[in-house]
């Protein structure tokens, strides 16, 4: 998957949420939900964005989509700058990016039949011939594994797994190249989840899609994604190929997250450390590293100096003062060299 040009690049993107001046009462200061995030997604890859609730992963997804305007930073789609636009223009410029909601049922108008909802998307995107719309919808329903009769049903008549397929079909009809999948299998039974994951893999191969896969389920991430970005309180703390993250996690938060994930294999249960306390809120961010305070290995420096995301090995970046490149000294130099190359 590597070697290809990135389809999307974010450089130092920050997003401020909420915050408004009110005529009466106290003004509410905005919250930095996404803080200085740089990220590149290669064409054809599945990048998993992992983090706990409130870490800003959904906000980042909405920002990439253009529904949320970034406060600063640079967003490029296929090398063309598409940032700094008001929502309507941003959506137009980023038509190749589409978003699949986590709650598939709530994302559908309860009064509209599935077929009508699917055809609506085509109508908005300029497919003016009704017969053509009908044909495309039927083909897409088949592609996501639903029979044509599903088009006459209403959202409440379908099961959770079927609704995910409908949500996918609706988005795929718009011919996106980059899909943002927000927890695409949360709330599904395991046997249904398996079929949805398989469908996602098939569709990627068949339609040449790229996925930004937002999830907190590490067992799914490990199986599905090519690369992982771990988020904590609005910052990306570690990115690496999936195999590397699971085998050699470098950031203390990543390690705690992996240790906390429930696993079927009970052999090494005892040796895992647990994280104490709740994450601090965005409103009261520590001055230094956001993880300071919960970090089991924090130092004095971590309290005041925020660590920058820097490579430990090629392709493996960590934002931690303690991140030691855990590779032999000779290879270390190449790693350092890679760090010196400007992005």
């Amino acid at each position: 998957m590597t070697g290809e040009a990135p389809i999307l690049t974010l450089h130092a993107v920050s997003v401020a949420l909420g915050g408004r001046r009110r005529l009466f009462g106290r003004s509410v200061p905005p919250v930095r939900a996404v803080n200085d995030v740089s990220l590149a997604i290669d064409a054809g890859e599945i990048l998993a964005l992992v983090g706990e609730s409130g870490c800003g992963k959904t906000t980042l997804g909405r920002t990439i989509l253009g529904l949320q305007r970034e406060a600063s930073g640079d967003i490029r789609l296929d090398g063309t700058a598409v940032g700094g636009l008001p929502p309507a223009k941003a959506r137009k410029a980023r038509n190749a990016i589409q978003y699949v909601h986590q709650d598939a049922a709530a994302a559908l108008d309860p009064w509209w039949s599935i077929g009508r909802t699917l055809r609506e998307g085509l109508l908005i995107h300029g497919v003016s011939d009704a017969a053509e719309r009908r044909r495309l919808v039927e083909a897409m329903l088949a592609a996501v594994g639903l029979d044509a009769a599903a088009g006459r049903r209403y959202p409440h008549e379908l099961s959770g797994g079927q609704l995910r397929r409908v949500a996918l079909a609706r988005i795929l009809l718009l011919r996106p190249r980059l899909l943002i999948l927000d927890e695409p299998t949360s709330g599904l039974d395991m046997s249904v989840q398996a079929t949805v994951l398989q469908l996602l893999l098939d569709l990627r191969d068949r339609l040449g899609l790229t996925y930004l896969f937002i999830s907190h389920d590490l067992s799914v991430v490990e199986r599905l994604s090519d690369r992982v970005a771990i988020m904590y309180l609005g910052r990306i703390v570690e990115t690496a190929p999936t195999r590397t993250v699971f085998a050699r996690p470098a950031h203390p938060y990543t390690r705690s997250l992996l240790a906390a994930a429930p696993r079927l294999d009970r052999s090494n249960r005892a040796e895992r450390a647990t994280l104490t306390g709740d994450p601090p809120t965005h409103a009261r961010l520590p001055a230094g590293c956001a993880f300071y305070g919960r970090c089991p290995v924090s130092m004095e420096r971590c309290a005041s100096v925020p660590p920058a995301l820097r490579p430990v090995t090629p392709g493996h970046e960590v934002a931690c003062h303690l991140a030691e490149p855990d590779i032999p000294p000779l290879a270390l130099r190449t790693g350092m060299a890679a760090a010196a190359v400007p992005r």
């Binding site: 989509l65 529904l67 929502p87 959506r91 137009k92 038509n95 589409q98 978003y99 909601h101 709650d103 709530a106 994302a107 559908l108 108008d109 309860p110 009064w111 509209w112 039949s113 609506e120 998307g121 908005i124 995107h125 006459r152 049903r153 209403y154 409440h156 008549e157 609706r170 988005i171 718009l174």
Partner: protein
């Protein structure tokens, strides 16, 4: 039978309400053929004035010897006409205002909603009386006054629903795929707010009948000799308590009709759930 009707048929109060409403509509449409003395809408027979209920005059007769039973039947049409007109006009004003205020936000929304709140803050009856007082007393001015007091109820409901729907996930998804404001507002939000509006309208019909009767009673609505229920009660005052039947039967007609609409409205409220819809 569709599931909606089946569910409604299990709701006994709603069915009672429906039966009353159907009966009132039937009487309103076929009144002149149902009433034993249709000419009593205007005629007077002083020879038989203020007779208590008998077999011939089941509700008794009034001060001009007119059959009260016939007049109650003949009055139904006027009552329904007033109620339907008022609620329709109020909806025509209130629903678009609520949609715009809820979807647009900003200063326009603030202006619309503050005016709505101001109108809602004044007791309905007082406002209607004041407005009716400004106009020449007639049925039309009573209807206009009532419409001008009832629209804020629709604005409030539509505004709240539109606000909720605007921030809902399915509207978010529609924006995501590039749907424009008009499409979202008229094809998606409007059908979703229609059910609570219908419920409110049904309850509003009952309420309007009551207030229209009060206006009639106070001489600001229908003018004699119209067989208006409120007017009849007003005329009966001088003959109370001797001629008890004079006020009782028109009063019961108002009570039953208002109750019918309210029961039906409450039943409908439980039904306005799109999850009950089936494709087959």
């Amino acid at each position: 039978m569709s599931p909606i009707l089946r569910k409604l048929s299990h709701d006994v109060p709603a069915m009672v309400g429906l039966a009353i409403v159907v009966a009132v509509v039937f009487i309103a449409v076929f009144g002149p053929w149902l009433a034993p003395f249709p000419q009593d809408a205007a005629a007077s027979h002083l020879a038989r004035r203020l007779k208590p209920p008998t077999e011939l005059y089941p509700f008794g007769t009034d001060n001009l010897g007119r059959d009260i039973f016939s007049r109650v039947i003949l009055g139904a049409r006027g009552v329904l006409q007033v109620a339907l007109t008022v609620v329709f006009v109020a909806m025509a004003i209130g629903v678009p205002l609520g949609l715009v205020a809820g979807y647009r936000g900003g200063w326009l929304s603030e202006v619309i909603m503050r005016v709505t709140d101001a109108v809602l803050a004044i007791p309905q009856l007082v406002l209607a009386l004041a407005l009716a007082q400004l106009l020449t007393p007639s049925l039309e001015s009573a209807m206009l006054a009532l419409s001008l007091t009832y629209w804020p109820f629709f604005t409030r409901i539509v505004y709240a629903e539109t606000r909720r729907l605007t921030s809902s996930l399915f509207v978010d998804a529609l924006r995501g795929i590039g749907a424009n404001g008009g499409r979202i507002l008229f094809l998606h939000i409007l059908p979703n707010v229609i059910s609570p509006v219908i419920v409110r309208a049904t309850i509003g019909l009952g309420f309007t009948i009551l207030v229209a009767a009060v206006l009639g009673f106070l001489g600001m609505g229908a003018t004699p000799p119209a067989p208006d229920w409120g007017l009849t009660i007003a005329e009966s005052r001088t003959y109370l308590p001797g001629a008890w039947w004079y006020a009782t039967f028109p009063g019961l007609a108002i009570l039953l009709t208002v109750m019918g609409f309210n029961l039906l409205g409450d039943g409908l409220r439980d039904l306005v759930d799109p999850r009950l819809r089936r494709s087959r």
